[in-house]
């Protein structure tokens, strides 16, 4: 692959972490405000896509430290686990269970489900982008 322009290289190195942090913020505020797992995942995939447009798919996989296809499975299993938690407690499948943690606030299985959606969307979008780039 040809060497990318210096401007693009510098911008990608700074912009991708910013987009990942914004995606996490969108993910965690998603229950009561606009946002949530899907939008957060798309934002993170946008940042990683910018990185892979600049440095190529191989460098992006090294940056992520995990194969994006593997992220799809991990995300689906996380969402399934969030659903099973209520089911194992005798409640209907996907019942939301909330607990109050000190310092953090209310967390529960809907947050876990959102994190699962987030990981799945990142994995799917980034692996599709890489398939396009390597074709």
């Amino acid at each position: 692959m040809k060497k990318p322009s210096l401007l693009l290289e510098m911008a990608a190195r700074r912009q991708t972490p910013v987009l990942l942090i914004v995606s996490l913020w969108v993910l965690f505020r998603g229950h009561n405000h606009p946002g949530g797992g899907f939008i957060g995942g798309l934002l993170a995939a946008g940042g990683l896509g910018f990185y892979s447009l600049t440095y190529g798919p191989k460098a992006t996989r090294r940056y992520m430290r995990i194969d994006p296809i593997r992220l799809i499975g991990i995300g689906c299993l996380t969402a399934l686990g969030a659903g099973l938690m209520g089911w194992l407690g005798g409640l209907p499948f996907l019942t939301g269970i909330w607990t109050d943690l000190p310092l953090i606030g209310k967390v529960g299985t809907p947050l876990l489900f959102d994190i699962g959606v987030y990981l799945t969307v990142i994995g799917a979008a980034v692996s599709m982008l890489h398939a396009f780039e390597e074709a």
Binding site: L19, V22, V26, P34, G35
Partner: protein, 92 residues
């Protein structure tokens, strides 16, 4: 004072609408792909301005987040198009 602000919003919205219309003409006519890509990038900026005006007139702060995200994301598509144009040029 409030009337002045409302009038300024109205005028700014009309100016942005005219800008969007002219940009659409360039998007439809654009002799080359690069012109169309530049028009799309400019359209994103114009829509960001429209959303900001809407935020001012309604006071809904939710749109500000959308504006921020759109401003951070919209240039990635332009970079993708630019890479596509370079690829095509190298192939031919």
């Amino acid at each position: 004072m409030l009337e002045l602000l409302a009038g300024a919003q109205f005028a700014a919205m009309i100016v942005l609408l005219i800008a969007a219309f002219i940009t659409f003409i360039r998007l439809a006519k654009g002799p080359k792909l690069a012109d169309r890509v530049a028009a799309l990038d400019l359209l994103a900026v114009i829509f960001i301005g429209m959303m900001l005006l809407h935020t001012i007139s309604t006071g809904e702060q939710v749109y500000l987040d959308a504006v921020m995200v759109l401003a951070m994301i919209s240039f990635i598509g332009t970079i993708g198009f630019a890479r596509y144009i370079i690829h095509e040029r190298e192939r031919s």
